[in-house]
Every structure is written in C-alpha cells, then in structure tokens.
Symmetry: C2
Subunit: 493 residues, 2 copies
C-alpha cells in the first residue's frame, strides 16, 4: 500500500509558485459554496512522524477561511471521556453541515498504537476497525464527505528527516525523544497501519496516501485531492437537489396483528396493592441504585409510547427512589439549530450521562423511526438505515457497561380518549392536550406499524424492549419498576 | 435569620387540596408566558438535610411542564471541571432564555461545606461570597430572574424527621449514615449558612427561607413564592418592552489623542532580521511551551484590532511553534442560536480550554465593548456593565493559574487601505475584502474611542493589554512572540 508513496516525488519552487495561487482561489470558492451546502467535510490526518501532518493542518488553515475550519487534536482521555463510550469524544467534535473539521489524531490512533506496542491482540484491532467502518459509514450515509490523508515516509526518509531537523540548531526542538523511540518501531508501525488502512479504505471514506518527503509536493497534493473531491461532491449535491423527491409512501396496516395487538391491556391492579408494593419496590430500587453507583454501573431508560400512555408519571415514580445527584430526565423535544446541523444521533451522544448515573429519556432517538417516519420528516432511506445505526449506538453503550432499558407503554385508543377527556377537565392538565393530539389519533395505525417494525428490528439481546400494558396505570408503573429492579440486580450481582 | 422558619407552620390536607389546583394552573400559565419572554429563571435550592429539598424539585417538576424545566445536581468535580475555573461547571448548565433551571446543590455548596468542616478560613468564605454576589449580579443584570430557596428545619425538627423516616421500614433507606454525621454538625452548619445567606441575600437574588417541617406548607409556599415573583417579573418585562428605546448615542472623537494615537507606527524591521529572529523565538517558545505543559500553565491569547491589522498571520507564527495537540485557535464569529439564548459571556465560558493548553481567540469577548457598542447591537447599559464583567471573568481565569495575554494590533488608516487594495489584487485573498470593510473605515473614529476606553478599563495587573504597532508586520509579529515568551518564562520559572 505504501510503495507508491516512496517514489521520491518532488515539486520545484517555480512550479509550486505557479500552481499555488490557482489552487487557493479554487479551494476558497469551494469552501464558500460548502457554507450553503447541507453536508460537512471531515478530514482525518494520520501518518508517520515527521511526514508533515502538522504542516498539512497549518497549510489548510492558511489556504482556506479559518473561520469555517476547525482542527482537533487528541490527548489522553479525560475522566468525562473515559466514563463514556470511546467515540463520544469524536461525536462531540464533529463539524456541522457547511463546515470542515480536521481530525489530527483520530479514532485510528488508539487501535494502531496499542497494536504496535503489543498492548492489544490482532482480534481487538480487527474489532476496532469494524467499529470505525460503521462510524464512518454512518457519517457518510448522513451526507458527510469523509476524507482521510495518510502522510507517508520510507524508513530511510524518516531517519533523514529527523536528522536534518536535529542538525539545524533552530529546528532541533522539533525532534523529541519520543520521535526516535517511535522510529525504532518503524517496521511494526508500518505493518499495523498498512493493515488498518487496507481494511478501512472504503468507497465512502477512502484513504489518500501522500508521499511526505517534499513539502511542495505534499502541500499541492493534499490541497488538490481535497479540492477535486469537494468540488465533485458539491456538483453531486446540486444534481441531487434538482431531482424530484419520491412521494412519501403510505403506511398501511394490513390484516395481520402487530406485536402490540398481542398485549393483554385488561391487566389490572388495585390502588391499595399498588401503593404497598410501590414503596417496597422503591426501597429495593434505591438499594440497588446505590450498589450500582459504587460499581459504576450506569443505566439508560428509554420511554416510548402513544400520548397519555403514562410515561411521565411512571418516570416520576422511579426518580422518587433515586438521589437527585444521580439521575437526569431528558425530555426529548424539537432539536435546536446546532443540533439540526448534525447527524440525528449527535444530540443523544452529546447528552450521554457519566458513568454510574441513571438517565431517563422521555422519548428518544427512536423518534427517527416513529414520528419522523410516520410524518415524513425524513426520507425512507433515512429511517430504514436508522435501525442499524441505533443498534450500533446501543451496542456501544452496552459494551461500555451501561444498562439500556427500553419501555414501550401501550394504551388502547379508548383508554387514550378517556384520558384526553379527563385531562381537559382538570385545569392544570389542560395544557397537555391540544388539537394536534386528537389529529394524531387518526395516524394510530401508522404508528402501530412503525412501532411493530421498530420493536422487531431493535430488540437486541443487549438492549431488549419491554412492552408494558398501560391501560391500568398502576399495573404499568409496577411492571416498569420491577423490570428495572431485576435488570439492575443482575448487573450489580 | 432562621427564627421565622421555626414556627411550626402547617397547612391541612383540605386547604392544600383546595389551593393546589389553582396554583398549578397559574404556574403553568406563567411558564407558558415565560417561554416567549427574553429571560431565564434560575432557582437555587439549598438547606438542611431532610427539609425536603429533593421533594421540592420533584413537586416543581410535577406541577409544571418538565420539558422547559431542567434540574441539575452536582457531585465531586470531574477533571474537565477541575482544570477550569470553579464557575465553569455552573456556567455550562445555565438555562437559556424562556426556560427554568433548578440548581440543587450549587455554587453555595463548596464554600459552606468547607467552612463547616473547618477546611477553609472565614476569609476564604468571605471571598467566595463576594464572587457569588458578582456572579448572581451578572446573571440578574442580563435579565435572569434569580430565586434562592433555603429549606430550613430546627435542630429538633431535623432529628424528628430523620427518626421518623428510620422508623418506617419502607422509608428507612432514605436516611444514610452521612445524614446523621451532618446532624452532629447542625449548630455549626446553621451558623455558617446563616452568614452565607445574610451576605448573599440581595435585591436581585434574594434568599427565600421556607420552613421545611410540613410538606403541604413547604410545597404551597415554594410554589406561591415562585409564582408571585415570576408573574411580577413577566409584567415588568411587558412594561419595559412597551417603553420607547433610548436613541443610540453618537460616539464622538474629540480633539484629545487616544492611547492608540500615542503608538509609533513607523517602527520597522527588515525581513531578513525578522526571519532569523523568528526562528530563534519559535525555538524558545516551544521550549517554554513544553515546560508550561508539564507545570499545567495554560495560556489564553486574545487578539483584537482593526481589519487587516495582521491578527491571523501573527497567530499562525505562534501556533507553528506549538504541538498541534496543545493549542486551539477560536475565530469568533456570530453566535449560534443556542449562544444567543444566553449571557454574552456564556459562549466564551463554554469553550474555555483545559489546563496547560494555549487557546488563541481571534477576536473575543471584547466584541461587546467594540463592535456591539459601535454598531449599537447592545444597549449603553449593556456595554457599560461589560467592563466589570470582563474583568471579573479574566480574574477568575488568572486565579485559576491561566496566563491571559491581550494584544491590540494597531494599523494606520493608510496602511489598512494599502492592505485592502493589495488583497484585492491577489485572487485567494480577495474573499477577505468586502464592501462592508470599506464602510467600516468610516467608523474608524468610533472604534478608536471604544478601543481607548476598553484598554483603559480592562488593562488589569493580572491581564494587561499589549499594544502592538502593526504597520510593519514583521515588527508586530516579533513583538507579540517576544511578549508571549517573556510572560511564559516568568510563569514557568
């Protein structure tokens, strides 16, 4: 893979000076067009020490408008980062649509370095590369232009470069002990990174290997590659925007029952029995919760279901048993402007809780395959893809040691109507009911189909759905509490 | 201060049931009106253990629309938090305009607890209370309604409450060892918090002491206080909005010279001498920077000055000497929607760098007293107040051990014009010049007056301004580099 980047290619000063102004002008024009486009550019910069990674970041800043260009470098994990899944630190720095983000050091650094130093096995590297491919595919599917530059030097070339810098007293400071330490591992580093590049060089996120020995060649090549790919992409976007949108497909509920139809909504529980058992369960939950804090087992609870299914009141019974410092309830409303500029999962990554906490989502990322699907807020492609993206997201949470519980609380149309009417009678509940809620009832069959498919496609062994019969609120609340206690008990055992 | 909250006040069940619905209805209506208003509500909840702090948070969630209400509790500092000034963790959680933020545990916790446990002196408590008053005043000045509830129990009352909870097997879990440990310190806790409350009970952020013994009384009192103050404030806002806005005062530059006039812009340096000294300085800067990393001394560099003064090119000469993992350049453009919903300093707090890093602001929070003042984007009150707010902000940075360097690069109108024309000749620099830049030249005298006042009022001993003669770019770049090196050398010595 690197042979073609060891040819000793150079570009003379005269040629550079002749080509640079045109390249800069075109890059700026492309960047200007990007500002109004609906996708971000993500540039990963990796490679051999001394091959000019830092200089490449610098020249891109000099050539383009730095106000719409952000570079990020990564050091050791902070504790806020280590308390969350590995990719959290990358998600939170993704550029919004219309901007360029440069990742100098990236999701490739840890897997490659650990393997080079023999701290991880080949199978761990392999698993990491699969995760990386998923991540980059999700970004690309969402529209991001993902480019990855690898700056290469031959072993001899790296040695020469370090020696040259050391010889000049004015540049000696650029060479550190760790540079020479890394140099000793050159062969191993080359082998591991060759494997990593090969397995992650995809059509949607290709690696572009650039010979790093000659500054002029390196700069012009990186700039030209960026320009060519960005320009092509901008043209594609324009063409795509001109195409007519496919009509929103109608969701039809056929004769076959959905999984929701199979729920026995007549299950009931008396208020008295409820009150007694609730106090017991709250006591048990509190004890388990405190054990979970000690063992740093965090929980994420997701609540979905029709309006007036009792999500909010159930959540309050749970949080009443917890310490206020240990939980957070996140009501999911419309995204903010910053959030709309990002991948739809970004805002959920962004607010991911720290280790050992309980985070309750009152509605969630499942909005993508429920309301967004039913109302046609996203394309069919978008929500079809979302099942896999959500499973991948939840898998990362679970691998990190977080318990993920998902509750679908179901009510019958009749019971929902009764609750609507009841709410209208109580002055301080009236705000919860709008015309919209009545209109939504007409879309009930569509939501049932969407929920049925969602439950089937995202009920994984690590994050199963719990379906809750919600017509009797006492029964529903206890079932949720009981389920949470049982899962927690297993996890802290 | 607490005597009036030891009267044993109660509200019977019948009265509670009669008054609650009306209170809830009115609270919801007020919250609905708040959504469209231009200020946030910040509620601090403090008090004695067992006095019902958690229950107050819960009842407010139950009574109001939880989608526009956020509660925050605080545990020990994370390392991302401890690497930044103490108030960073509070700033980043402030509610935006139109919303309610509840701080359960707050900026009062650390100062009070440390003093109770004898870990800090009375003078440290005093200093902390001064900082708190500044903070709350800044929030209130920006429009926030700041309410602070203190839930009180007498010593006997606290003992009774804890015993009662312990007696019932179903509620025993609510009482922890640390509750009894705290109880032993009751008298001391009472004394220290009484002092804290007295010194921070201000007109713009009053403490409301509530007797915590009876749940009904406590809930109704907290709810009613919130309702009364919020309603009053909403009415004031309406009245204020109806008042005619004062005309924007003209900024006149008189005959007297400004501090900028005193700069000798004829200072020059040859390119050859520049190149030689630049390499020396970059080597020195890198060495100092690496020492600073080890000693965790971070630096914040602020660049201000007219268009085309050479801010960007100077910044690039500095960052070229640093490790890409160790610096961040933040070009300050228009705020995002989320940022516009907050205090103008919020977005600078938000992006505050971690310890030991170099952060360069290309334009900064000084926009408030420069462009916002000159263009009339904020009221005279707003920018007048900003000097003090900025000094307070920078003082917190410096107290935290961060070096704050502020550079004003000055160019003469003639030199600026020459650079504009030059930029227009170079294809890839043309994007930097717009009609607007020429129009801005007419406002030059206004900017000079604003800059002169800014420099005078914000050049503190901990964060002085460095004025840079910028007509010769080589001279300017070296002066900045030299200043940074000298300050850094002193700090790491």
């Amino acid at each position: 893979m690197f042979e073609t980047a060891e040819l000793g290619r150079t570009i003379g000063k005269a040629e550079f000076q002749q080509r640079e102004p045109e390249l800069r002008t075109k890059l700026l024009a492309a960047q200007e067009e990007l500002k109004g486009a609906k996708f971000p550019v993500i540039i990963v910069i990796g490679g051999v020490d001394g091959a000019g990674k830092g200089e490449t970041v610098n020249i891109l800043h000099e050539w383009m408008d730095p106000r719409y260009l952000e570079a990020h470098a990564f050091g050791p994990l902070t504790d806020e980062e280590s308390e969350r899944p590995e990719f959290w630190r990358f998600w939170r720095l993704l550029p919004p649509k219309g901007r360029i983000g440069i990742f100098f050091g990236s999701w490739y650094t840890r897997p490659i370095v650990e393997r080079v130093y023999g701290l991880s096995k080949g199978s761990a590297l392999k698993a990491a590369l699969v995760r990386i491919n998923n991540f980059e595919r999700e970004l690309a599917d969402d529209g991001a232009l993902v480019l990855k530059f690898w700056l290469h030097l031959s072993k001899e070339g790296q040695k020469k470069r370090l020696k040259k810098l050391e010889k000049n007293p004015r540049t000696r400071w650029r060479v550190t002990d760790s540079d020479w330490k890394h140099f000793k591992l050159y062969d191993r580093f080359r082998k591991v990174s060759e494997k990593a590049l090969r397995e992650t060089s995809t059509g949607h996120a290709p690696w572009i290997v650039i010979e790093g020995g000659d500054t002029n060649y390196r700069h012009l090549t990186a700039g030209t590659e960026l320009l060519t790919r960005l320009t092509k992409r901008l043209a594609q976007e324009k063409e795509k925007a001109a195409r007519p949108k496919p009509p929103k497909p109608e969701i039809v509920k056929g004769d076959q029952p959905t999984i929701l139809d199979s729920l026995d909504l007549t299950k009931t529980l008396e208020k008295k029995a409820f009150t007694r058992r609730l106090e017991d369960l709250q006591g048990r939950l509190n004890m388990l919760y405190r054990q979970a804090v000690v063992r740093k087992v965090g929980s994420i609870l997701v609540f979905e279901g029709p309006d007036a299914a009792g999500k909010g009141s159930t959540i309050r019974r749970i949080t009443a048993a917890l310490d206020a410092r240990g939980y957070q309830v996140i009501p999911v409303a419309a995204p903010t402007q910053e959030e709309r500029g990002q991948h739809y999962l970004w805002r959920f990554w962004r607010h991911l809780p720290r280790a050992g906490r309980v985070t309750v989502y009152d509605r969630s990322w499942y909005g993508r395959v429920l309301v967004e699907r039913v109302e046609g807020f996203c394309s069919e492609e978008d929500w079809q893809r979302a099942y896999g993206e959500i499973n991948d997201f939840e898998e990362q949470l679970c691998e990190h040691g977080i318990l993920v519980l998902k509750f679908w609380i179901q009510v019958s149309p009749d019971e929902q109507l009764r609750r609507f009417k009841e709410r209208e009678q109580i002055s301080f509940k009236r705000y919860k009911i709008t015309e919209e809620d009545y209109r939504n009832r007409e879309k009930w069959p569509g939501y049932e189909v969407a929920a049925n498919e969602m439950i089937g496609r995202t009920s994984s062994e690590f994050a199963p759905w719990t379906l809750v019969e919600g017509d009797n609120k006492y029964y529903a609340r206890l079932k949720v509490m009981q389920t949470f206690c049982d899962r927690l008990a297993k996890a802290v055992k």
